[in-house]
Structure formats: C-alpha cells, structure tokens
Point group: C2
Chain length 130, copies 2
Amino acid sequence: MRIGDAAAAAGTTPRALRFYEQRGLLHPPARSASGQREYGPAEVARVRVIRQLLAVGLTVDDLASRAHRLDLLGEEPPHRCSESPGPDTFAPVVHARLAALDAEIARLTALRAKLLHHIATGGAEVPAGT
Amino acid sequence: MRIGDAAAAAGTTPRALRFYEQRGLLHPPARSASGQREYGPAEVARVRVIRQLLAVGLTVDDLASRAHRLDLLGEEPPHRCSESPGPDTFAPVVHARLAALDAEIARLTALRAKLLHHIATGGAEVPAGT
DNA sequence: CTTGCCCCTGACGCACGGGTCAGGGGTTAG
DNA sequence: CTAACCCCTGACCCGTGCGTCAGGGGCAAG
C-alpha cells in the first residue's frame, strides 16, 4: 500500500501522514526500491488512532511524547487504568487536556457574560479586574 | 503626549498603538515636526474602548469595520439600541461574536465529553459521525 | 515510448495580535 | 556636547496542523 491509499484508508491525506512521520507519531515506514513509502494495515490502524486522539483535542506534541503507546491503544482493554494512571499511559496528557479544556470553556463562558453585559450597559465602564 | 505615555495611559504598548493605527482602528494622529506621533486624551480613551472590545472577544477586523463608531462608545448612553439594532452599531458584530462563542463553547463541551468517553472505554472505537 | 497519475523532498502560507530585533534619528537633562 | 532614553519604519517570530506549490522521478496502461 502506498501513501495515497493508506491515507485514504485512514481518512486523511498523504501530507498528513508525512507530517505525522516527521513529528514522530509514525515510525518511518518501509520504502520500496525507488524510495516510496510502503504501509500495511497496522500503520493505517495507528493513523486512525492518531486521528481520534487529535479529534479529541490532544495535540501532535502530546501524541509525540507518548508515541510508543500509540500502537497498543486499539488492542488493550481499559483494565482499570483510571485507578492507577501510571506515568506510561495517556492519562497525564488527557487530564491536562481536560483541564485546559475546562479552563477554556470557563474563559469563553465568562467572556460571553461580559459581552452580554456590554450590550446591556452600552459597553462604557471599565471593570476593575480586567 | 507621545506614544509611550499614551500607550501606558491606555494600559498597552507603543507597538499595539501603531498596530491599531495600521489596521484602521485609530486615525493617524498628529505628528510633531520630527515625525513623532502626538496623542491627546481623546485618543487614549479610544484605545481604552478598543482594548475592552478586544478583551470581550471581538477581533481587530470586527473593530475596523466599525471604526467610525469607536469614538462615540464612551459617550452615548445605551438608548434602547437593543430594540432597533440598526446597521450602524456594534450589535451585528457583537451578536456574531456571541454566536461564535456559543458554538465554540458547545464544541469544546462536546470535545470534553468525548475525551471522557475515551478515557472510560479505552479510546478504541470509532464513532460514526466523526 | 508516451501519457497521466502518483510519489519524493523542501519550503512557504494561514489566522491572530502583537513581541522583538535592527538600524537610524529625535529630545532632554546634566 | 554627550549620555540615556524615546521614537521612527520595516521585517521577521510565535503556535497549530496541515494545504499547497515547485521541481524532479516512479509506475502501470495503451
């Protein structure tokens, strides 16, 4: 399987696969004699996992720092990881993302409230703590 | 008042004032004989208004499109603008921002839920509508 | 052999609100 | 007069996840 087909199979683009490889999310794949990347089903599955994690809000750097765990994610059962989130799982980055997400939601919610306040009052006064 | 003092008085930096001027949020100010920008209290007040609106989530482009209204904001009373939000006020951009804000909050909230779901299930399955 | 699609690497673009550096001149107190 | 500080313009930098272009080579079908 060459990069175009692999990308299509994973629901993304060749450019993205090369990018993931460059950033360390994918191991450099086998190459044909002429230098073209050759992918198998395992790599495609890994790309799918990557895409899910990115879609969920993790960053490329988050994934790069846990790249060695990416292959296993589709196969291991949950096995009470929420009880002992060792330093070798995604729990740390996930929880960090969660916290960042909560902070961002709170920020936007506060912003929304301030914006409404500005509408109501004409937006002229200066709140102290801003 | 030269740019440094004006910026300090408005709670920002010289760079930001030049930036606002460049983007059309501020009228080009008077210049001294040697070319240095000269600001009065009115411009400082305008910068304060700009900063409030930016802090509330409007973009520089939003403000640029309504630049001719920026001077009046600190002086006009609300005067039932919420009943007839003519095409000449900030209501359109504010409401657009509000909608964008709501959409973003909803998106992040959904993301948060998905992230939690991934933690709970091990993050292996592929939801249909993603 | 040629056509046409796919692949390769390297490098710039984007959106946002300025920060920061570079190189040169004004301004004011001592 | 000079030091010290401020101002001028122009231009590159940041972070994110790729898109897109440029220039050159591979691979399968007719």
